[in-house]
Amino acid sequence: MLRFALRRLALMVPVLVGLSILLFAWVRALPGDPARALLGQRATPEGIARVNEVYGFNEPIVQQYLKYVQALLGGDFGRSIKTGQPVLDSFVEKFPGTVELGVTALLLAVVIGVPMGYYAARHQGRFLDTFIVSGSLLGVVTPVFFLAILLKLVFANWLDLLPTSLRQDPRIDATHITNFYVLDGLLTREYDAAWDALVHLVLPSVALATIPLAIIVRITRAAVAEVLNEDYVRTAESKGLAGHVVSRRHVLRNALLPVVTTIGLQAGLLLSGAVLTETVFAWNGIGKFLFEAIGQRDYPVLQGYILFIAIIYALINLVVDMAYGVIDPRVRVS
């Protein structure tokens, strides 16, 4: 297992090097000039020339790349052109927001999705099964941002129940240690702050959870249905084993593999869904910041963030692959 993990990590290296080159080329292929983005409408040609000189954007591109890599090897991801903040610092600051949102969404999807899929498989063809299956289809085909708009309209504008933007009420003077706001509230015993952060999580995480939820329902249903057809399940049932023992020991365990795979894949995709959701809900996370950075042509942020996301994405995939081995010893990781 360890050797497998090390090999996979080693394989990541060429991918990351390639990605860093592509990213570097990409940000510079973006039309428009970071200097002008920085100076805005008042930009003068002299001002632009000066900014380009200060940031070294007028040097030959290969030289710029070498400098960038040299800094990277020293652990320096550069500073945001817009805010001047070191890229790594801002990522560390904003990433908990995205994780908090993503984990909540994924939890929602798993906690609701797996039982629903299981139930549907056990009652195939019945009304509730049909209902669950069609509902999950709708979840897959509804654009996230459309759903987000609907949620906002219904729960904020009409029912006046839930907040629509930010991660916490600015009126609450909450202490932040980890930048996971709910966790912070619990750690500092500021329970109202934790509760408020939780309430702020509801709409964005529901919007973000729909697609993974729908997919998890469908995969669980299919996997369970397949296992139920297996001979060993029939044998177990005919042997007179209690229903719940069969479910736990045989059905769930064997159906888990594709479900875990799916959950892992969805965890990675949540990073990308976060761009839309965070933008709609003014959620302070990496997705929103990354999207704004495109508009700002904030080269160091774009390069750094996408690189971090790729690393995290790869690590999630690795963990998922390793989880196979744990769940199903038959799968020899190769």
Binding site: R36, N157, S165, A282
Partner: protein, 539 residues
């Protein structure tokens, strides 16, 4: 006439010792937190290095300049200076300072502090002289002690005459000097705090300790914390010389989407928000929220790039002007309170001319003029930005849409070209000749004519694509005149010339709107955004 009154006001205020900020309702118990949503985070907390509205919004709560503005107008008024006078030649200004003013760190505000600030600006190291930092100082005072602009500066010296009198000497007359001092970029900062926490020579002044955690001024609020990406928190400064703030705390948050800002106000997630979209105004009012338009100090225009045919033909430009129904443009795409424009500056600015040529809406005439010019059925590129709302242009796509149907009506073919505002659109319009007619505008920073027409037409630009040395010369001359009285006729003439030459069609002066929850009281809106929240109370 407004002009004379204004000019006189600006000078006569010298004798007026009243504070501009004393007009609160009173009687409120106060306390609580006032949460305000802007469109973006401040870039840093030291306003000397900023030029954007969001940074200034926060800075205005903490910092004050020698000069402020008369509430509700763009006109200069006493603030940290109680009065001032200047020599005949316009080269020397003497200020009488308000006494008993303290910085947030407990040090005294006095003549030495004023000179420390002026000397700091003048001695900015080369790294911060560029436009992304000391934009305003560099633009207004034109030079520094060292660096490439050494010797170009119009600042000569600052002399402290005792505790509360200070004289600023200039090397050239600068008629807009007093008005310029109302800019937050030129506000007074604590010399001792600067000494301790600020490093103007830092590799990046955006991230110095002072710029992120120790801004120290004389304003009614002092800095508490800045949770990046989340909020800036300020608390009441109890030793404030003027009317103490009614609320204990203010929090400024960023919500980029105008619709989301409106929803946040309605949902009581924030107490107030700026730049409310025109379409959100009526629903907010119906829901019992307060919507406050500012007096417009903006201009939105349709620029006509003369590098592109047939826009180089003055007859075609005039025909376009006749084809546009400004009334319809405003009602379809601009907020209530918008005024229609006859020239490239709002009425309250020096040199606004009531007698400029006006092009009344007459599609018939426009069609005929186009035919005569041989431009009937010509295809013209129309550039406009997407995904942006500016104070002068709340929903460009709507404005474009109305204009397009009006121009189609008179027989022009319109080729829409849309770009994302930053940086693509700005790049294309201001940095290349590759555009046709286009939407753009301006929000005045302070009451200065050059800040409008000078910015647009002062030199040959890619935006308008014309070379008119005579106009450039006139603007150059008007800028150098020492007093506002002498400037007025010059700018009036310039405005008349511009509207004959028609480098673009001024459309309107849109009124940027604020929205507040039902229990917010005492917010004084200002056309130049000089809004200080010490008078504000929340339910």
């Amino acid at each position: 006439m407004g002009l004379v009154g204004m000019t006189a006001g600006a000078l006569l205020l010298a004798g007026c010792a009243e504070s501009g900020r004393d007009g609160g309702e009173g009687g409120d118990e106060g306390g609580g937190t006032f949460v305000f949503a802007g469109a973006a985070e401040p870039e840093l907390l030291d306003p000397a290095f900023a030029s954007d509205g969001e940074t200034f919004r926060v800075a205005r709560q903490m910092f004050e300049g020698l000069v402020g503005t008369e509430p509700g107008t763009p006109d200069p008024a006493p603030l940290l200076a109680e009065s001032w006078e200047n020599t005949e030649d316009g080269l020397s200004y003497t200020f009488q300072l308000r006494e008993g003013v303290k910085f947030h760190d407990g040090t005294d505000f006095n003549a030495d502090a004023v000179c420390a600030n002026f000397d700091r600006w003048y001695n900015f190291p080369e790294g911060v002289q560029s436009d992304d930092f000391a934009y305003y100082y560099s633009k207004l005072f034109r030079g520094f002690a060292e660096g490439p602009k050494a010797g170009d500066g119009i600042f000569e010296s600052c002399e402290a005459n005792g505790e509360s009198e200070v004289t600023i000497n200039l090397t050239e007359p600068f008629a807009g000097f007093i008005a310029a001092l109302s800019l937050p970029a030129l506000s007074m900062q604590s010399p001792s705090a600067l000494e301790e926490y600020q490093d103007d020579a830092a590799a990046n002044v955006n991230t110095t300790e002072y710029s992120t955690a120790h801004p120290t001024g004389t304003g009614p609020f002092q800095f508490d914390s800045w949770d990046r990406g989340n909020r800036v928190t300020l608390t009441r400064f109890d030793d404030y010389w003027g009317e103490p703030a009614k609320v204990d705390t203010v929090a400024v948050v960023a919500i980029a989407d105008p619709k989301a800002r409106a929803t946040a106000v309605q949902n009581d997630e924030v107490d107030g928000a700026d730049l409310i979209g025109p379409a959100d105004i009526a629903p907010l009012e119906e829901a019992g929220m307060q919507v406050m338009p500012r007096d417009p100090f903006t201009v939105l225009y349709l620029g006509l790039n003369q590098k592109q045919k047939p826009l180089d033909d003055i007859e075609v430009r005039k025909a376009i002007a006749h084809a546009i129904d400004k009334e319809a443009v405003a009602s379809a795409s601009l907020p209530e309170g918008t005024e229609l424009a006859t020239q490239f500056m709002p009425q309250s600015v020096v040199g606004w001319n009531p007698d400029v040529t006006q092009y009344e809406y007459d599609p018939e005439k426009a069609r005929q003029m186009l035919k005569d010019a041989g431009a009937d059925g010509a295809t013209i590129e129309f550039n406009y930005p997407t995904d942006v709302s500016r104070p002068y242009m709340p929903s460009p796509a709507d404005t474009f849409n109305v204009l397009r149907s009006q121009l189609k009506e008179v027989g022009l073919k319109i080729k829409p070209v849309a770009d994302v505002w930053s940086p693509d659109y700005l790049d294309k319009i201001t940095g290349s000749p590759d555009h046709g007619m286009h939407l753009l505008g301006w929000t005045g920073d302070y009451n200065d004519s050059d800040n409008f027409v000078g910015v647009f037409f002062g030199t040959q630009t890619d935006e308008f694509g014309f070379d008119n040395p005579e106009l450039f010369k006139k603007l150059q001359a008007a800028r150098g005149v020492p007093t506002l009285e002498e400037q007025t006729p010059l700018y009036e003439e310039i405005n008349a010339d511009v509207m004959e030459f028609l480098p673009g069609v001024p459309l309107a002066h849109p009124a940027p709107s604020l929205a507040f929850g039902p229990d917010v009281e005492g917010y004084q809106q200002s056309p130049v955004n000089d809004e200080v929240w010490n008078t504000v109370s929340v339910g």
